[in-house]
């Protein structure tokens, strides 16, 4: 069976559940209040009756049945709160405001009519009972109230019954019951109403969230939840959802951007390769070069392209790492610098450059060693490539006063004009005077990406100035935080 939609809603269901639990708890409390009140009233009545009885029996003991009789008459006429009945030993009435009711015995038919008083099956001694009696209330209506009484046999054989009208207690209890029922009804009504309102509110809020989720599912990443600043958890959820969507949209944009960039980045090397292959084919056809040479040329072009591709991928991967170093290890930046100096020194000297290194040791960093080596290699390679013979290249590794670790490569080449320094780290940017040199234009972009992934930065400055007819030179600093000890 399908429930009405309201019943399938979580808030409404919860409301119902809580109402049921509440009603059960309220019933228990009401029942307790009822029974406790009833028991209390009974106990009070019992004590009162007992006291009155003991007063009357004392009167009988000291002054005799006539005085008792007189006292009872007096009490009845003064409308005492008690009911009385004084009977002879045979059960006939002497005095009192209760009448002796003739009753056929409840038990066997031939037993003598012992039940002559309101107390049924009186067997002598002190016997308590509740019974109903007929009375007229203040308005003159006949009512049958309940009474609690005790019957005792007096020393002369007479029987005395003292009772208290429980009508007031009864009325009180019935009013109490009524009030309790009414309260319960109100609670249920208000609860159901509140649940409805609550469930409608929650549903409305959930509806807002759901609409956004559906919109996003259908591809609209710009959909956002309307946040009402009420500070409740649904608002919080909405704000969280919005933040998540913002992040998602940003990464989608950056992925798309990276994709576009890769496609764009590869177009020019592919175009270059195609052109070179075409030239090689023409040359081979014209017999200027042989087929093997042409193929070798193609292979090296393909290798270049692969290299470019790998670099573009590496940059994208580093940028996606968003400040988190991939596969970090702890090592001494000084020993890395020393290795790089040792590796590149012969190449620099072969070109007629003076190569020097000033390296501090104990520069512990937590970094990706291959990537950092690659970054240093790119910068050193650039320095060697762009510094004319007779110049100098210097590699330095030191701890800055801020505690950061700095690699710096200073050359005496033409340098990079101030205005171009930000630009050269962008992908495929090659300054005019470098176009004749081999290279992809990705070297410094990779360096920047590596440093960014390490929470560091690249800083380009002017070199030492005029040197051997060239200048002002370039100083590239790779700055990254030291490892936490």
């Amino acid at each position: 069976m399908k429930l009405p939609s309201l019943f399938r809603r979580t808030p409404f269901r919860l409301t119902l559940l809580f109402l049921a639990l509440f009603a059960a708890a309220a019933s228990a409390v009401l029942a307790y209040v009822y029974f406790a009140s009833a028991a209390e009233a009974q106990a009070r009545a019992e004590a009162d009756v007992r006291a009155e009885t003991s007063v009357l029996t004392a009167l009988y003991r000291t002054r005799g049945v006539d005085v008792l009789n007189q006292a009872l008459v007096e009490r009845v006429t003064k409308r005492s709160p008690y009911l009385y009945l004084l009977m002879r030993a045979d059960g006939s009435k002497i005095t009192g405001d209760l009448s002796v009711t003739e009753r056929s015995p409840a038990g066997t038919a031939n037993s003598p009519p012992s039940n002559v008083s309101p107390i049924e099956n009186y067997r002598g001694g002190e016997q308590w009972a509740t019974f109903r009696f007929t009375d007229t209330d203040a308005a003159g209506n006949v009512v049958r109230n309940q009474a609690l009484g005790v019957q005792v046999t007096l020393s002369g054989g007479e029987m005395l019954l003292v009772a208290q009208d429980l009508g007031d207690t009864e009325k009180y209890l019935s009013r109490l019951t009524q009030a309790l029922w009414a309260a319960m009804g109100m609670v249920l009504l208000l609860g159901a109403g509140g649940g409805l309102i609550l469930s409608r509110n929650v549903e409305r809020a959930m509806g807002r969230l759901n609409r956004v989720v559906t919109a996003v599912q259908e591809g609209d990443l710009k959909a956002r939840v309307e946040v009402r600043r009420s500070g409740d958890e649904l608002d919080e959820l909405g704000a969280g959802l919005n933040a998540m969507l913002d992040r998602l949209q940003a990464s989608m944009a950056s992925i798309r951007h990276a994709g576009d960039a890769i496609a764009h980045d590869l177009r020019s090397p592919l175009t270059r390769m195609r052109a070179k292959l075409e030239v090689a084919l023409i040359d081979a056809e014209a017999g200027k070069i042989d087929g093997v040479d042409a193929l070798q040329l193609s292979l090296s072009e393909a290798d270049e392209l692969l290299k470019t591709f790998n670099t573009v991928l590496a940059i994208a991967r580093l940028q996606a790492a968003a400040g988190r170093t991939p596969d970090p290890e702890k090592f001494d930046a000084g020993s890395l610098a020393a290795d790089m100096a040792e590796l590149y020194e012969p190449a620099a000297e072969d070109k007629g450059l003076e190569f020097s290194a000033e390296i501090e040791t104990g520069l512990m960093i937590e970094a990706n060693r291959p990537f950092l080596a690659q970054a240093l290699a790119n910068v050193i390679d650039n320095a060697i490539k762009y510094t004319p013979s007779g110049g100098a290249v210097m590699l330095r590794a030191r701890r800055r006063s801020s505690g950061d670790i700095e690699f710096s490569i200073t050359d005496t080449g033409p340098g990079v004009p101030d205005t171009d320094r930000d630009r050269v780290v962008e992908r495929f940017v090659r300054l005019d005077n470098s176009r004749t040199e081999p290279g992809s234009g990705l070297g410094l972009s990779l360096v920047a990406a590596v440093l960014e992934a390490h929470g560091g930065r690249v800083q380009l400055d002017e070199g030492p100035g005029e040197y051997g007819g060239f200048g002002p030179g370039l100083r590239v600093a790779l700055i990254l935080p030291a490892a936490v000890a």
Binding site: D327, L343, P370, A377, D381
Partner: protein, 223 residues
């Protein structure tokens, strides 16, 4: 040499088998890790060339199983995954070398050669001899004939590697990886400069050049 190629990409496998066969090897091809494992268990191979990503049983699983069985045949992993952690995983699983796709044939053949020959020169050597070139690993001295050759520490390491792989082509990348222990692209051929310095020391003034350049591959030290 008997080489087992385990590679699921048919085209890549065909090219590899052809290249390795033409280099004078006896090559068997298995199409995935499970077949590779069966074939390897038959024994008699000098080198396993294993692709990392394969259906059924991948390269890592296959090599781990072989190593557990006590098979110490050298393994060259091929993988499109070239990150540092991938390399570490491969070497930890029992690989001896790791080559990232795409690779040049010369590189593959040189590395397979290096792995296969490594086994032959087992045992701790104190003196390496190639032709009239002699290297004392304890005294750290090098002689060619009667002439003592003075080498820088790195040149010594470079020559040691070349001597251990005498007669085989070694690529520039191999030298950077094995002698300098770095995995990166040095842009210009810095290795060439180091080689030419070494060459100047061991070949200059002798009638025969031992340190040869192998076109399209790298270098070879000829006895």
């Amino acid at each position: 040499m008997r080489i087992l190629v385990v590679e699921d990409d048919a085209e890549a496998a065909t090219a590899m088998v052809r290249g390795l066969t033409e280099a004078g090897n006896d090559v068997v091809h298995a199409v995935d890790g499970a077949f590779g494992l069966l074939e390897a268990q038959k024994g008699g191979y000098d080198v396993y060339v294993v692709d990392r990503m394969m259906p059924r049983l991948d390269g890592i699983g296959m090599v781990e199983t072989l190593r557990k069985d006590g098979d110490q045949t050298p393994v060259l992993f091929l993988s499109a995954m070239g990150e540092v952690e991938d390399r570490i995983v491969g070497l930890k699983a029992g690989g001896d070398d790791y080559l990232v796709k795409p690779y040049a044939f010369a590189e593959l053949i040189a590395r397979v050669d290096a792995l296969a020959r490594r086994r032959e020169t087992g045992g701790v050597q104190t003196v390496l001899k190639v032709g009239d070139l002699e290297m004392n690993l304890i005294a750290r001295t090098v002689h060619r004939g009667e002439t003592e050759i003075d080498l820088q520490p790195r040149e010594f390491q470079l020559l040691e590697f070349l001597m251990r792989h005498a007669g085989q082509s070694v690529t520039r990348t191999m030298l950077l990886e094995k002698v300098w222990e770095y995995h990166f692209d040095p842009q210009t051929n810095v290795i060439d400069v180091h080689i030419s310095r070494l060459r100047a020391k061991i070949d200059k003034g002798f009638d025969r050049a031992m340190l040869q350049t192998v076109r399209g591959a790298g270098y070879r030290l000829e006895p």
